[in-house]
Symmetry: C2
């Protein structure tokens, strides 16, 4: 999908805003942080902040609207960075390539190009860290994720691993992203991704025996993103003990939480894989 590269996160946001972008943002502006989006009616904001604080691995909170109703400016949760430094010249209603719309806890519309007509003065946007942020580091260590080689979206799955509940957010479970790796390099993959603490960090599970623990039935049928393909074009096969699935917390988790909690009103999110790019780079946030 993303064959070309763009020079900055701001350039990606502007292209999305002008509807010049097609496809997912994985690897689109290398080393610039990408963010998951969830937009909630303001009455749910306190509970959502607590959900993030209690579940920082799937829900690492980077920033939120500077005030209720603001889609132009951010309040930062990253030490040493202001909201303007995270993203200036921002329009959250247009800057993701594609969006999801939820009504009363149900997905109503998928992959729309903007949410300008849905946004109200009562909405609060939250930006959540994205695992795309450590893919550059994996690639730089000669361990490029398969889906980036194959130019596909990363596969994402519902699991039965409970989130710690927070107020109205009960009954939620982790969403995970998956990248297959040779069993022999899993410890290196853990080491490389461990420092990325606000973009999901090290994996939460790995190996074929993790499938049952997570409650994932078929690795080749993800709930979001593209089915995983080996570099030879083959599907993943659990009979192949040499290549194993590696699972990370995923920032689609808040969208799943909104559905599990049956939140009333209109909730907005990015389409999985179609992220909002930020102005900050890995090196601004992580010691890697």
């Amino acid at each position: 999908m993303a064959t070309g590269k763009m020079s900055t996160g701001a350039a990606v946001r502007l292209a999305a805003r002008k509807r010049d972008l097609v496809g997912v943002t994985s690897g689109l502006a290398p080393s610039f942080l990408q963010a998951n989006l969830i937009v909630l009616p303001s009455r749910y904001a306190i509970d959502f902040r607590l959900l993030c604080a209690r579940n920082p691995v799937p829900c690492p909170l980077l920033a939120e609207s500077s005030q209720i109703g603001s889609y132009h400016s951010l309040k930062s949760y990253i030490d040493g960075l202001t909201g303007d430094e995270i993203a200036s010249d921002l329009d959250i209603r247009h800057d993701a390539p594609r969006y999801m719309i939820y009504r009363d806890g149900q997905l109503a519309t998928s992959h729309v190009t903007d949410i300008a007509t849905e946004w109200t003065e009562d909405h609060v946007a939250f930006l959540i860290g994205c695992s795309y942020s450590f893919e550059t580091a994996l690639t730089n260590n000669s361990l490029p994720p398969r889906h980036t080689i194959m130019e596909r979206n990363v596969p994402m799955y519902r699991t039965n691993i409970q989130l710690c509940p927070a107020g109205v957010f009960t009954g939620s479970t982790f969403v995970v992203s998956m990248r297959p790796y040779k069993r022999a390099v899993v410890e290196r993959v853990r080491d490389i991704t461990r420092p990325f603490v606000t973009t999901h960090g090290e994996p939460i599970a790995w190996g074929w025996d993790a499938m049952e623990k997570l409650g994932i039935e078929d690795i080749n049928k993800p709930d979001w993103g593209d089915a995983p393909l080996e570099v030879n074009g083959q599907s993943l096969d659990s009979a192949n003990e040499d290549v194993v699935p590696v699972f990370w917390g995923c920032g689609v988790t808040p969208q799943e939480a909104v559905m599990r909690a049956g939140l009333k009103g209109t909730v907005l999110g990015h389409a999985p894989g179609h992220m909002i790019l930020l102005d900050i780079k890995d090196g601004d946030v992580f010691s890697v």
Copy 2:
């Protein structure tokens, strides 16, 4: 057990140090914070801090040794409080009433009165928040935990809920404490305990149907603490839909993690229920 009360956390520490204390510390110095203890060889400190950061509900890190080998002074992780304010005149080797000793990931000795001969210059102590800290609030809201009425230790259970792994800490699961409540008051109990974010906060699960989800087979056979008793002296009965178990994250989780990870060397911890009292009070930390 703890029928009398003591005036301060410091008084409890001194009594433990002089071996004048028998029994668990629940409710012993009302409103003073109590802490779980884990003492690790220094080579595991970085991974343990990350384990806490990734799992703040069972493992809320309050403070650690001010430097490797220090049992007298603390480095604080609580905003606005210094280590000395958390506990001065401290001796971590003596100030819990009872301790556990682990060797090479196995429990070696249980309920010893001090760890002076086990402590080395390579050990680092970590203090973790304790759910006893919200019991005063529950009591003040006319919802005293059953075990405090019955003067017993709170029951604690192993679960199959995964911790997010961190470095050497893999394969760990939540330990939970349990307090039974009438079904009708569970939402009030959630509300009352929610603000206590660094002492486990609101429950992670409740109701009889939570038993299977957590992997707890028999509510009347806890892994630590005393079996739960109703105020009439009866055991809990899942046939009684009116009274349900309510489960919180528990600071014994790090001791379980040490065993699951099979850590080499000597690891020390408090005996469950026999906490280290601090100099700070609920109101110093929580807005309640």
